[in-house]
Amino acid sequence: MKALIALEDGTIFEGESFTGRGEAVGEMVFNTSMSGYQEILTDPSYTGQIVTMTYPLIGNYGVNSDDMESVAVHPKAFLVKEYNAVPSNFRSEETLAHFLSRYGVLGVEGFDTRALVRHIRTVGALKAIVSTEDLDRDSLVARAKAWDGLLGVDMVQQVTCDQPYGWADNRPVPGTNFSTAQAGMRNPLKVVALDCGIKFNQLRIMTEKGCQVQVVPASADAETILAMAPDGVFLSNGPGDPAGVQGVVATVRTLLGKVPVFGICLGHQILGLAYGGSTYKLKFGHRGGNQPVKDLTTGHVEITSQNHGFTVDLDSLDKDAIELTHINLNDGSLEGMRHRFFPAFSVQYHPEHAPGPHDSLYLFDRFVEMMRSEMKKRN
């Protein structure tokens, strides 16, 4: 079925839907990972976006129930060069097309995705519409333009959990106040994870590292969190503009200094705002699994998984209070920081990978160490 992809600047591509009829409006972004489409699709950070994969052959290994990063598919539409309809992998349970259809997400193939990517690289992320319904080019461009976009919008409330939950047996278990525990765990560190659009792998890894994690909605306030007496607070990734989530920023500001904090991606940006810094939107963001990041504390380079369109403005930070710990080797942008006085650190990228390299798992160890040393200080 013919589908048109229209960008707000009037650029149009013609493709074929591989999921039947549909229409979606969103911000057009691209991801350069060669594997991991299922994890990308289930990453809540892509809420409100239309994702184009630069790797041309997608669908090859199907979809399985283990590689879910949340319980839903988040992008508005998914664009690829060639959809491979018959998967081959021992874990495959479902075709990608079926999976997308189940979640009502439009999949389009059969157009020059590289041309689209080059266009976005040149002009920046754009508002876009994909449709099998409206094939009138002018109308599509007008509708793409008319969309409000993501700037300043609080997207977190669309993806944060309604009810608190814990993590056990590799799945979410409803419950409050650390009522859920992984069997066999002794003296776990208690972590409250503020869900701004959390990825399950963050929970899997923290559990593996001996943490008992209590996930709470992003609206949870500082008092509620502190009342649970956690050993640490984890700030997850999430979609959209950090400036749109001032409530969470305020919560975090209160938590600073009272409890160890570790932030990833949007969590990192929220910390940046809580430190008094500002954020801005990158031209087309970093999305992929090959971004080189240098750990300034060790001089070591790690290959990281990334997915962000906004970043903390390096110059806006008070260097007396904030130490830069990681930078991006490609463009020199800020990738990690820690507070000089409070137990708080964060990274812009995704140490929980899924998809992507495992080079940065040590950051979860740093979080654990920080919680333990703070615990010692308290005792």
Binding site: S33, M34, N84, V86, S88, F90, D112, V117, R118, P355
Partner: protein
């Protein structure tokens, strides 16, 4: 960490001659490394015995030793040069193995030479089977159950314990030499004994077979600060059991989820750390159980490899160059990515296309060998294609192979529709060079993918994609030309169909399809290989074609010339032609002309993005080349450097109005077309052996009778003496003409009088249309009748008279000028009874151009390029012929040990894969060096076995006498023994095989013979002599199969008795 300043002079070891499993990828990596180190200000000393390499160009390294790569010779280089460091990881297994010897013999310690990139214990940990397994255990990775054994008994016991089938893998060998699959005890015994014999450490591993598991490879790089990145993942289409060099491979991996891929990535990183490769690239091979994803480690190579060359070309990341820089202390985050300029080498390339590599086999050269693929590599070359989809890349790769196929089937060739089902199934089950044809036939017949998977173990993902190609084929066939609308036509091009295939399917012509296509605006666009999937702007014009919307290639306003490369390496067309193409690009650069390279061979220097101004990685078919020409509109196209591949396109290109520069296609035709050539020679009063051109058997018999036996027969328009035979009777003519494609073909069969016992002479010359300069005259050691590519030769001629040499020069000049040659010309002469005969004239680059250039210091290919651009020899300062005072000897290297049952006898059909050069002030020593470089250690004492045909007896007599003088004892079969004894040469007699035991084979097997001289008439005339030659080969006893060759070996032995071998850089000679 910036570069090290405590080292100044670095020795690099090359990989020597081109052999199966070690081809020009190591010239590519070595040349990159030399350039990279020089760029950093280091003094670079290089040793490589292969003159056809770019890396041995005298201007590349500071000191270039074209000397044998042996412990003794490298020791001499080290003594003389006193390098601070040795970089052993860029010259393949050859360099790695000799580096271990250098370290263990104490040479490196003695001269305080530091080994860079990987220390000896690291190499041993990676390459020694036992050490590697132990290391894998430490980091919790699984390896197939196996036993390391050093004796046959232990091997058999291991087979029983592990259970058949088992894989036998000798330690420290190249390309899986001597390895294989044993399905039973008998096969295990055979493989084990040969494997133990071949291993440098008499060690083999008997391993659980993972036949049918999926095979993957990762290319890893590490710097001295322990930063590790993965450059490329590769998935083999052929399942485990086929050597990765013989497998069709695809980049990136296609059927792994991210979780599985990252598990593999973690393993690769853990391995490079545990093994301890300090800096540089490594290759790790994995097997994955398709049922449950269980991951096993197969092996790792702690060095740059064939796969890393492929990975470099597939991603645009220059692994060897970066590896060289990491070796001297740089870290990945200090080195820029050439392609993006802004970003660093510390990243992992991501690609937005699909790459398919298909190996090129030459089983047709060895009809006695079984076309079955296993764990020992047999392919001689490979081609790579890039497309936006697997389907497109696969079809492009199929037509890049230059095996006469226009893609994946749909061209009417190699049809298998006559096969019974069981035959088809057997062709699917047993991996072979032709399995692709069976796959096509099975899909065409509608065999279910599940069934094909069961038979082939090829992952269904690949099969589904191939199935889609075949479905498209059927649709086009059904639609016909009238139904080939714009949408179907475009889709078919996106599926990689060539115009030739579409023409076949619609019953039209290639031209008609092309016209239709262009009318509908369906032309390819060119996309960049940029390492980053377009995330960053890139500056390196490295392109591939696809059928999409946006074209990224743009034509510059500069004057530009396109060079057509040689495609995949094969016997007869290899690195020598790539060398010429590379020189053409360099020469164009020197005169400010934009060079545009077109080639499909990932192993080569020509497909390095650094070599030319623009690189199109494309098949060398008329369609693909014309498409690029349509876009680039070059001022000239060079077809005379890439061997037969571009030459075969010359006429069609000229017909299409393409400006072919240099010698005109008409002149080429005048030299190729027998009738015209005859008239041409008559005009110049030059002599050629009696000859005729025939199309049918009757004509052939008539011509042979008229010319008189023996005659040489061959098809026209071939390179490497393909199907060339010396025929002694009508029966031979009948056999030859009965071969497919001989009688009744468009191209005729050529019949020449065979000049027995003539001396063959090769001449390379350069001509600007008016003036001709002789580049070099090479006298063959072996007599005429042995393919010039297989002969050893001496430059300058060592026995020809001054008068003859003058006559040769005059004839060469006369022919060049009469033909109007602009560029290079090669002539083959035969000299018999002081008479000069013209055998062949080729107005193009020849296989000997690099050898001559290295021997004389005159860069013929570069000069020829400039001549083709309109400059005169005088303007180029080449007005006199160079005479050299030293001797240069070329020796050929053969792949006989790779193929069971193949005779080692030389003949008119070329069999060698590579060459070496021996150079010295003394002819005997130059001969000795050439032998040594070719892997032959000349005996200094012991018994020489001589068995020669009657015609050779006189020729061998003096050599035999000299052997006795050198205290060798002689052993001969009856006829030869009688002859020697009658002529006063002491000699023992031994039984022929047919004469009862103990016979000569017993003596050979008892290692009582140090050298075998065995000549025989024709092909396998006697089973006896075949068995002798084969035994010598398998027992690694030096052997010589011509009397002239034997005489030269004796000359070398004599020289060695008088003086030691000394090393000299090529810069000293020229």
């Amino acid at each position: 960490m910036p570069k090290r300043t405590d080292i100044h002079k670095i020795l690099i070891i090359g990989s020597g001659p081109i052999i199966i499993s070690q081809a020009c990828e190591f010239d590519y990596s070595g040349a990159q490394a030399v350039k990279a180190l020089k760029e950093e200000g280091y003094e670079v000393v290089l040793i490589n015995s292969n003159p056809a390499t770019i890396m041995t160009d005298p201007e590349l390294a500071d000191r270039t030793y074209i000397e044998p790569i042996t412990l003794e010779m490298i020791t001499k280089v080290i003594e003389k040069e006193r390098p601070d460091a040795l970089l052993p990881t860029l010259g393949g297994q050859t360099a790695l193995n000799v580096a271990i010897k250098l370290a263990e013999s104490g040479v490196l310690d003695k001269y305080k030479v530091e080994m860079l990139a990987a220390k000896v214990d690291v190499i041993k940990k990676a390459e020694g089977r036992e050490a590697f397994r132990a290391a894998m255990k430490v980091i919790g990775l699984k390896v197939p159950e196996s036993a390391i054994v050093h004796t046959l008994e232990d091997a058999m016991a291991a087979g029983d314990v592990i259970g058949f089938p088992v894989i036998v893998r000798p330690s420290f060998t190249l390309g899986g030499t001597g390895g294989g699959v044993a399905y039973n005890r008998q096969e295990l015994e055979a493989l084990s004994s040969s494997g133990l014999d071949l291993s440098m450490t008499t060690e083999i591993m008997v391993e659980r077979s993972l036949l049918g598991w999926k095979e993957f490879e990762l290319e890893v790089m590490r710097d001295c600060k322990d930063n590790v990145v993965i450059i490329c993942s590769i998935e083999n289409m052929d399942a485990m059991g086929v050597h990765t060099g013989d497998s069709i491979t695809v980049a990136p991996a296609q059927t792994l989820t991210d979780r599985e891929y990252q598990e593999m990535r973690d393993a690769a990183i853990a391995i490079i750390r545990e093994i301890g490769v300090e800096t540089g690239g490594s290759n790790v091979q994995f097997a994955v159980n398709p049922q449950d994803g269980e991951l096993m480690i197969i092996e790792m190579n702690p060095r740059v490899s064939r796969s890393s060359a492929l990975a470099s070309k597939a991603t645009g990341f220059p692994i060897a160059k970066i590896a060289a820089k990491l070796a001297v202390g740089f870290t990945l985050d200090e080195l820029k990515n050439d392609i993006t300029r802004e970003t660093y080498a510390a990243f992992e390339p991501t690609i937005d296309y699909c790459v398919v590599k298909i190996p090129r086999f030459t089983f047709e050269k060895f009809p006695e060998a079984e076309d079955v693929l296993s764990t020992a590599m047999k392919s001689v070359g490979e081609t790579m294609a890039i497309g936006r989809t697997f389907k497109e890349a696969f079809q492009k790769a199929m037509r890049s192979l230059e095996t006469g196929r226009a893609g994946f089937g749909a061209d009417g060739k190699e049809r298998l529709d006559h096969l019974e089902l069981f035959e088809l199934e057997s062709g699917l089950r047993v991996p072979s060079s032709k399995r692709v044809c069976y796959l096509h036939e099975a899909l065409r017949r509608g065999m279910a993918v599940e069934k094909i998977f069961e038979l082939t173990q090829i992952d269904p993902w690949f099969l589904r994609n191939l199935e889609q190609i075949v479905a498209m084929e059927l649709e086009i066939r059904q639609q016909g030309m009238s139904g080939l609308g714009s949408s179907l036509l475009r889709k078919s091009k996106q599926y990689g169909f060539s115009d030739q295939q579409l023409a076949f399917l619609t019953g039209t012509s290639r031209d008609e399809i092309r016209v239709l296509r262009k009318k509908q605006g369906i032309v390819p666009v060119y996309k960049l290989v940029d390492t980053c999937a377009a995330e960053f702007e890139s500056y390196t014009p490295y392109y591939y074609s696809t059928y999409e919307q946006e074209n990224e290639a743009s034509r510059s306003e500069k004057k530009k010339v396109m060079i057509l490369g040689g495609g995949p390496n094969r016997i007869g067309q290899g690195i020598e032609f790539d060398y010429c193409c590379v020189h053409a690009a360099f020469a164009l650069g020197e005169i400010g002309v934009e060079s545009i390279m077109v080639n499909s061979n990932p192993e080569t220097v020509s497909t390095d993005y650094d070599t030319s101004d623009k690189l199109y990685f494309e098949p060398l078919t008329l369609e693909d080349v014309l498409n690029i020409i349509d876009l680039e509109q070059p001022d000239g196209v060079i077809v005379q450097f890439g061997g037969q591949t571009p030459l075969n396109l010359a006429v069609a290109l000229a017909d299409a109005g393409v400006p072919i520069i240099g010698t005109s296609p008409d002149s080429i035709d005048r030299a190729e077309d027998r009738k015209r050539f005859q008239q041409f020679l008559q005009k110049l009063h030059l002599r050629q052996p009696k000859n005729d051109t025939v199309y049918t058997l009757e004509e052939a018999l008539g011509a042979a009778a008229q010319i008189g036996y023996p005659v040489v027969v061959r098809p026209s328009y071939v390179l490497g003496g393909r199907d060339m035979r010396i025929v002694y009777s009508d029966r031979g003519i009948r056999e030859f003409m009965a071969k497919p494609g001989m009688a009744g073909n468009k191209h005729p069969v050529l019949i020449d009088k065979f000049l027995e016992d003539a001396i063959e002479v090769d001449v390379d010359a350069i001509c600007d249309g008016k003036k001709t300069i002789i580049g070099g005259i090479m006298e063959h050691i072996e007599e005429a009748g042995i393919h010039s590519g297989d002969s050893s030769c001496v430059l300058p001629p060592h026995t020809l008279s001054v008068r003859l040499i003058e006559e040769i020069k005059q004839a060469t000049r006369a022919m060049a000028e009469e033909l109007g040659v602009i560029g290079l010309m090669n002539v083959q002469y035969a000299v018999k009874a002081e008479e000069l005969y013209i055998l062949e004239v080729n107005p193009r680059a020849s296989r000997t151009v690099p050898f001559v250039s290295k021997a004389t210091g005159v860069p013929l290919a570069k000069l020829a390029t400039k001549v083709m651009m309109g400059m005169t020899l005088e303007q180029l300062g080449l007005t006199t012929e160079v005479t050299i005072k030293h001797w240069a000897v070329k020796e050929a290297v053969f792949p006989f040990d790779r193929f069971k049952n193949v005779d080692t006898l030389l003949g008119p059909e070329m069999k060698s894969t590579g060459e070496v050069m021996g150079v010295d002030d003394n002819l005997g020593l130059a001969l000795a060096k050439a032998q040594l470089a070719a892997g032959v250690t000349l005996p200094t004492s012991g018994t020489v076995f001589i068995s020669v045909r009657d015609g050779d007896k006189e020729g061998i007599l003096e050599a035999a006498r000299q052997l006795v003088e050198m205290n060798f004892s002689l052993l001969a079969t009856r006829g030869t023994a009688n002859y020697l004894q009658q002529n006063g040469v002491a000699c023992d007699q031994v039984n022929k095989i047919s004469e009862g035991r103990p016979h000569i084979l017993d003596k050979l097997r008892d290692r009582q013979v140090a050298w075998v001289v065995n000549t025989s008439m024709g092909r396998r005339t006697t089973e006896d002599s075949y068995l002798i030659r084969r035994a010598a080969l398998e027992l690694h006893i030096p052997y010589t199969t011509t009397s002239s060759g034997a005489v030269s070996v004796v000359m070398a032995m004599q020289a060695l008795r008088v003086s030691d071998l000394e090393v000299q850089p090529i810069q000293y000679f020229t």
